[in-house]
Symmetry: C2
Subunit: 189 residues, 2 copies
């Protein structure tokens, strides 16, 4: 049972509020009020609003990057890799649902170096996933539709999983993984 630092507490509360209204619609006063302190007190723990946003977004972005890089080097089939990508998204969604709202909707409010780092990570991630799909098509594991359509279709489902997770409440992770993998890979017909 670890104790949260004051900074971590701020980030947690902020992520919750950003999830509800978006980064720009949440003021430092809102965050402070939710912690029962005054806005000025926040600055004793963080440098500013921007730092809060970048901590929220870049922390999860790195989890995706690490998870993906661990996977690409494994010697398993392309379909198996796709399954692992799906599971990676489900695991991160269950643990960081609110941070994913900021990552999806507020990344454009990151500034300079933070923005650059995020965009780079997202591009690398998509490129890795694209390679997996192309590899699968080349060796006949995956149907030869336009790879971009497959990439987009799966990724957009996984990226908005946090919305569904919030709406329906916590659901059994293992059942979700099984059905989601089936629907996305084998289709519904």
């Amino acid at each position: 049972m670890k104790t949260l630092s004051r900074k971590d507490e701020i980030i947690l509360v902020a992520a919750h509020l950003f999830n509800e209204k978006g980064y720009k619609a949440v003021s430092m006063r809102d965050i402070a009020k939710a912690m029962d302190i005054k806005a000025a007190s926040l600055y004793n723990h963080i440098s500013g609003k921007q730092e809060i946003l970048s901590e929220i977004i870049l922390k999860v972005a790195e989890e995706f990057t690490v998870g993906m890089e661990k996977m690409v080097s494994e010697s398993i089939s392309a379909i198996k890799k796709v399954e692992k990508v799906i599971e990676l998204h489900i695991d991160i969604t269950v643990n960081h649902s609110e941070a994913l709202a900021a990552l999806n909707n507020d990344w454009m409010h990151l500034e300079s170096e933070n923005l650059k780092a995020f965009v780079q990570m997202r591009e690398d991630y998509e490129e890795n996933f694209r390679s997996i799909i192309k590899e699968g098509i080349d060796n006949g594991e995956i149907k030869s539709y336009h790879p971009e359509v497959i990439l987009f279709s799966i990724l957009s489902t996984l990226r908005t999983l946090y919305l569904w997770n919030q709406k329906r409440g916590k659901l059994d992770v293992n059942i979700l993984k099984k059905d989601m993998v089936s629907v996305l890979i084998k289709g519904i017909k």
Copy 2:
């Protein structure tokens, strides 16, 4: 060739800016500057920022509602209805790409009656789609996975289609429809 009213012009310019930075990050001064006038002049054509947002969002929301209601009464198979839902989303995405960004990301900034109307339309839409999927499962057209997983998987892909459309530029609508229908219905394996 119809001429845009000044109000329509404001809505078009605003939708473009909301698409880039989000409703809360765009000021009336930003919108005015993009039209080469002063912010105060906007109020001769619209009642305020809220009216701009509701015009953008509710107009497309109604297109979805009308399209869906036309469909549910048709006597065609459930799979055929799913195909038509996919085509409906693709058509609206191609024509109102920027408005869809606001609909997806800024609907929570709608106020009172506008917010109520939107939430109601979205709930009805999802419920109609859910019924189509359940009908398909019941009569054996659709595999019997959890209907909610199927609903979410297809809908989240369709709802974020505007992002992909913007990234890749205008693509041939008919090719997109064909491949998208295949991937979402028949799967990739």
